[in-house]
Amino acid sequence: MRRRDFFKTSVVASAALSLNFDGLQAALASNTAAMEAAPDLVAVMGGEPEAMLDKALEALGGIGKYIKKGQKVVIKPNIGWDRTPELAGNTNPLLIKSLVKRCLNAGASKVTVFDHTCDDWQKCYKSSGIEAAVKEAGGIVLPGNDERYYKSVTIPGGVKIKEAKIHEALLEADAWINVPVLKNHGGAKFSCAMKNLMGIVWDRRVFHSNDLQQCIADLCALQKKPVLNIVDAYRMMHQNGPQGKSAADVATTKSLLASTDIIAIDTAALGLFNQVKKLEMAAIGHITKGETLKLGTTNLEKLNIKRIRV
């Protein structure tokens, strides 16, 4: 929506807006034809993680659009729980493996992967299969278990959270990619791209005690935004999230979403989630609160969405 308003009125993008719309910047730099070709959101269904990732990246105009030669890149999956990939508590390791490879192929000087886990970090990194996947692909796995790794930054746009300790790997990176797994969530109701950012902060206690939904939205207003969000919905935990009890909590939906718009991608992911379990947008305060903070749009109608079946 805003993108179109923007064109119609031919207003020069404000600094804040341009930060949110890296895709748009790239499009402006080239021409309108490229702009039309590059969708705001890509949804892929029916393939294996690697194949779906490639389809999505291709539709978006290639990983080179987001990752430049020589850049230090951080990939932030969800590795929160001591769970095997089949239980869908964490991002699919095959997706992470392919993504690390794509970033390195795009010329990234270094690709680092971390999460501030809930369960013991070493168990999580191992059980999730992500540590092994990253190492095989040539990336680096960093722990997020110690306060020492975190540095305080201000979040000017935040309502409740105006300062947070963020993992230094992310702060020092030239670009970072947000790769959540789509899940039901006991506290936030829904865990996807926005909620995944809670894994980049040290003190989550203040989040829970200061209006969790608002805090999640505030955190997404962090100046250092992901260059791309990729939602893993190959397996989806539709109940008992975010940890899950058993395979009965998991639906195999074989899907993947990609977008620079964190609000839009969560809105779309909710649509996908609703295919399995009903969940009202109204219950997921952080998405609408994020829209209020002008972090993106929930109005998918006005976006250029590309749907791909593999």
Binding site: A43, M45, D82, K110, C118, D119, D120, Q122, K123, I140, V141, L142, P143, N145, D146, E147, R148, Y149, H185, G186, G187, A188, K189, R204, R205, V206, H208, S209, N210, D211, L212, Q213, H238, N240, G241, P242, Q243, K245, S246, A248, D249, V250, A251, T252, T253, S255, T267, A268, L270, G271, L272, F273, N274, Q275, V276, E280, A282, G285, I305, R307
Partner: protein, 534 residues
């Protein structure tokens, strides 16, 4: 008087030292290894320790130790006990750069402190029988060593690691990572400092005085070692009374003037046979039932009967005081009281300790645990921490589940596997997932959802069995509810609850652990989706 003759290779001493290294190094590394790099099986070495074996009733190991001591003497003290070897290392370090007379040969014969030694042993045994294991905790050499390693060596190694990790990380090397030390509590630290101070002070001033006076394992072994079949003895014909043996004896057990050796205190280190240039002192086959060694038998006999007399005397004293002790033992059960479990009236200050899964019940655990802290160091989530006085004097230094910042991993059974006393019973994974060590108790009046009217649910997030689950509250809000029959008391909920100073959900310990049904297994359904849904 020649002090240094031609040095001969002393095979027995070498063998003793090699054995000591073989036992000590893995045990030490097992305590300081914070990365869990060592194989879990190293804990087998801990099960060989005498006090843990006695407390756990490991008949096989007790028999093995008995055979060792009756045949070879107190090999245990020189080659198996980490505290004994640790004192030898302290002694070795002390001797660096010193002349023999001031260093390795600085000892002299002292009479045994038998009254103290056997009084301590008797009181330790009797009180332990009556369920007061305080003396065992404070005197067991292995546990004392454990506390030194856990609370002093391990944090030092971790700090070293952190410094190195920081340097390496600046060089873009990520092979090491920063670790946080959660397990060192004030009580643990003080106990470690006390233990190392005693070891250093006694080892430097009086050699193995700890082992021959304070140590209940040493005292126990001494009752048998005085009859050991192989023992060090004098050949009076060749002895020239040079006194080197006496000066080299860290057990202060050789009276060279009278050519007497107190076998009850000899720890078979073979330092004396090294020091003896005349080959008078040798490790010989001298079974007590053979009467063909007049000189040795007589002289050992005087020592023996003296100590036996004092042993019986102290035994009688203890027997007379039994009623008193048993009264104390009963009294010690009282102060614990029952937990207040009413939902909105949690008595936060007087909650009983949550004992590790497998410890069965609080009283049993207190009776068995010697506070060696091996479970504390091996616990991957660092939830087990040594208690101070908060649970009473009789729980001092025992590990408890501290849910301040951590919780017990649903799948983990490590503490039970490593516990040498079986104070924490071995559980298999399936059993562990159904052992209820306590029950999460929810206090709605403190809950964020109730007080602030905002979403939280952190407790439910961390609940592996979904005993803590979210139910509809006002509007779109949901609030936690606990199903006690599913809760295993892992503390996931308590560890993450953001409410302070007291949390809205806390685990109230079961003084007796219960077994609950495993979470019901739901049927795995296939979900067909026909579109993206947007």
């Amino acid at each position: 008087m020649k002090q240094t003759g031609k040095k001969q290779v002393n095979h027995l001493k070498r063998l003793r030292a090699s054995l000591a290294i073989l036992f000590f190094v893995p045990i030490l590394l097992y305590f300081v290894d914070f990365t869990s790099a060592l194989p879990q099986e190293v804990h087998t070495l801990l099960h060989l320790q005498i006090i843990p074996a006695v407390l756990s009733g490991a008949v096989g190991i007790i028999v093995l130790q008995f055979i060792l001591v009756i045949v070879f003497g107190r090999i245990y003290c020189s080659a198996i006990c980490p505290a004994g070897i640790f004192q030898d290392i302290i002694n070795r370090l002390f001797c660096i750069g010193k002349k023999k007379r001031k260093g390795a040969w600085r000892f002299s014969y002292h009479k045994p402190l038998n009254i103290l030694r056997y009084l301590l042993l008797t009181v330790t045994v009797v009180t332990a029988v009556f369920g007061i294991t305080t003396l065992v905790v404070w005197l067991d050499p292995y546990s004392n060593f454990g506390r030194v390693a856990t609370n002093l060596f391990r944090p030092a190694v971790m700090w070293g690691n952190n410094i190195l990790a920081d340097v390496l990380m600046r060089l873009e090397n990520y092979s090491l990572y920063h670790v946080t030390i959660h397990t060192v509590t004030k009580a643990g630290l003080v106990s470690g400092i006390i233990a190392i101070t005693v070891f250093v002070a006694l080892a430097v001033s009086r050699g193995r005085l700890f082992c021959n006076t304070l140590c209940p394992a040493g005292a126990l072994l001494s009752l048998v070692s005085r009859y050991s079949i192989f023992r060090i003895s004098f050949d009076e014909e060749v002895c020239n009374n040079c006194g080197n043996c006496e000066r080299s004896c860290k057990a202060e057990a050789i009276d060279s003037k009278n050519m007497k050796i107190d076998t009850s205190r000899c720890v078979t280190c073979f330092n004396c046979t090294s020091a003896c240039t005349k080959k008078s002192l040798r490790y010989r086959f001298r079974p007590p039932f053979l009467k063909d060694r007049p000189s040795v038998a007589d002289k050992a006999g005087t020592v023996k009967s003296g100590s036996r007399r004092s042993f019986f005397a102290t035994g009688a004293t203890i027997a007379a005081s039994l009623p008193v002790i048993s009264t104390i033992a009963q009294y010690s059960d009282l102060p614990d009281g029952d937990a207040v479990t009413a939902e909105d009236n949690i008595d936060y200050k007087n909650l009983p300790p949550v004992t590790p899964p497998g410890s069965v019940d609080l009283e049993r655990f207190k009776d068995k645990c010697t506070g060696c802290h091996i479970c504390v160091v091996r616990c991957p989530t660092q939830v087990l921490r040594p208690a101070g006085f908060q649970y009473g004097f009789d729980y001092l230094l025992r590990p408890h589940c501290a849910f301040e910042s951590s919780y017990c991993n649903y799948e983990c059974t490590v503490c039970g596997e490593v516990c040498p006393v079986h104070a924490i019973r071995r559980l298999d994974k399936e059993e562990k997932r159904t052992i209820q060590v306590g029950i999460a108790t929810f206090n709605i009046s403190r809950c964020i959802v109730y007080t602030e009217g905002t979403d939280c649910g952190a407790c439910s997030e961390h609940c592996p069995t979904q005993a803590v689950h979210m139910i509809p509250y006002e509007g779109t809000l949901t609030i936690p509810q606990v199903e006690a029959e599913l809760c295993i008391g892992c503390g996931g909920c308590e560890s993450i609850c953001p409410v302070r100073p007291h949390r809205a959900i806390v685990v109230v310990a079961n003084n007796e652990h219960r077994q609950v049904a495993p979470p019901e297994e739901e049927e795995v359904k296939e979900y067909e989706i026909d579109g993206f849904g947007f």
